[in-house]
């Protein structure tokens, strides 16, 4: 064999092996966390190990559509996980425990099933409980049955105005405390108002005022943002239960559950209409907290307990009541 022929053959062999080997080598050495819609498997891997106090470096990529990444109950900016791109995230966990990470951008009917866990090990540096879940939520303390019907027996004829309620309430012995507000539904408060000369609609205005005085504009706007990102796709941007997935949910029945394990006796329901006064005015903040924390148990309503902080849930609840009460009408401008 001529030398040129031999050298060519060697060169071709090396080039071909290199073209195969080099990409495989770098590919195998770059572990990525892949995001796919829940129907196609969600996060892979969906369990991540970490050590308390040590930074955790993650490389996230999406294999289909736009997703997002955030860790529940953690003060962090959510990170977009874009198709074909790699997002780098560095997390440091102070306390050991099991954390939930979840998808933050709606990616279909089963978006909220796209969750995974980060198992943070290590000895607790202090003796505080790892996650705020450890504290008993209010609805448990109050012993509420959050699945019981809770309709308001009387509803206002027009939307109650908090501003006119404030004027009316000036001389009334009413309880504005947070404990009182959270434990009772607007209808219960309406029903228990001291017997005065107020008309029915004036009484509702007073109730609206009590609700308003237990929130702030900041809370409401935080709640609004949480609502838009997490709730509006089903419950509707105007709270009317007619979000873009509402019809799909009702139509899907059990079918959308079939890919998920252990989902036997579930039936999807149409999302609740927050503009419906009978339902909303009969629900206390504590009851709503319970529903949000625990979820709808197979109705399609996700459980948010491992995602939202307690403060976020109260903000969200305050915002939900704004579909019933008018906090601005009559404002001097």
């Amino acid at each position: 064999m001529k030398r040129s022929e031999l050298l060519s053959r060697i060169f071709i062999t090396v080039a071909v092996l290199g073209a195969v080997g080099a990409p495989l080598f770098v590919w195998a050495r770059t572990p990525l966390i892949h995001a796919k819609v829940a129907e196609d498997g969600g996060w892979n891997p969906d369990v991540i190990q970490a050590n308390a106090g040590e930074p955790l470096f993650l490389k996230l990529t999406s294999d289909d559509v736009v997703h997002g990444f955030a860790v529940g109950q953690m003060d962090m900016q959510s990170v977009d996980v874009l198709p074909g791109k790699v997002s780098n995230v560095t997390l440091t966990f102070d306390k050991p425990g099991i954390y939930t990470f979840f998808c933050t951008r709606w990616c279909g009917l089963n978006h909220w099933r796209m969750r995974g866990t980060i198992e943070v090990s290590g000895s607790p540096s202090d003796h505080e409980p790892a996650l705020s879940e450890a504290a008993e939520p209010l609805y448990v303390t109050l012993g509420l049955d959050i699945d019981a019907p809770h309709d308001a027996l009387v509803i206002p004829r027009s939307q109650p105005s908090a501003i006119s309620g404030q004027q009316l309430a000036a001389n009334l012995p009413i309880d504005l405390s947070t404990d009182y507000y959270r434990a009772y539904s607007p209808y219960q408060v309406f029903d228990e108002l001291p017997n005065t000369s107020l008309t029915e609609s004036q009484s509702w205005d007073v109730v609206a005022y009590i609700w308003q005085s237990n929130t702030t504009n900041e809370s409401l706007s935080d709640g609004q943002q949480l609502y838009a990102q997490n709730c509006a796709a089903c419950h509707g941007e105007n709270g009317a239960g007619n979000g873009v997935f509402a019809d799909d949910l009702a139509a899907s029945g059990e079918s959308s559950m079939q890919t998920m394990a252990g989902a036997d006796q579930m039936t999807m329901q149409t999302p609740v209409d927050f503009t419906d006064p009978t339902r909303m005015l009969g629900a206390s903040p504590a009851l709503l907290q319970g529903k949000i924390l625990r979820g709808g148990m197979g109705t399609g309503m996700p459980m948010w307990g491992s995602i939202f902080t307690e403060e976020q849930i109260w903000d969200l609840i305050a915002y939900l009541y704004s579909f019933q009460f008018d906090y601005h009408r009559g404002e001097a401008q």
């Binding site: 559509v65 198709p83 074909g84 709606w106």
Partner: protein, 152 residues
């Protein structure tokens, strides 16, 4: 000699059809609002028509995953998450037919998620039909004249 004259005539006619300003009937500009639902991989209302000068508001509603809407020619875009309607407002000051397309990767057929925006008449469609007709008449009228395209 005569064929040259006609050739020149045809070229002139072609230039007129290709570049002459399009006759427009002035129509009072309006404000128009369209609600466009975006789902994998189509827009519902995939064809919208407006008049030149209209103010166009496109409310983009995503019904499954995050989608976007990019208007060719105007080179403007928005993106919307499901549950968060976004509005794109612009003045339709460029006449013609334009594609609008998804600019947020939304799955396999994403590159082909396309709709059409017509601002007034489809200018280039009519121009090209005019040019084609002139060319065809030229060929049918002078079937064997020497042409510029091929020397031999």
């Amino acid at each position: 000699m005569q064929s040259r004259f006609f050739l020149l005539l045809f070229v002139m006619a072609g230039l007129v059809v290709a570049f002459a300003p399009f006759p427009v009937r002035p129509i009072a500009p309006q404000e128009r609002t369209f609600r466009i639902e975006a789902g994998q991989f189509a827009y519902s209302s995939s064809e919208i028509k407006v008049n030149p000068g209209d103010t166009v508001n496109i409310q983009l509603v995503s019904t499954d995953v995050v989608h976007g809407l990019y208007v060719d020619g105007y080179d403007i875009s928005i993106e919307a998450d499901p549950g968060q309607t976004k509005t794109l407002s612009f003045v339709a000051d460029k006449p013609g037919s334009f594609r609008f397309r998804c600019n947020v990767t939304c799955g396999a057929m994403h590159p082909f998620m396309i709709g059409k925006l017509s601002v007034g008449k489809k200018v280039w469609f009519y121009r090209s039909i005019g040019l084609s007709i002139i060319a065809i008449i030229g060929f049918l009228k002078f079937p064997r004249r020497p042409v510029l395209i091929t020397a031999h």
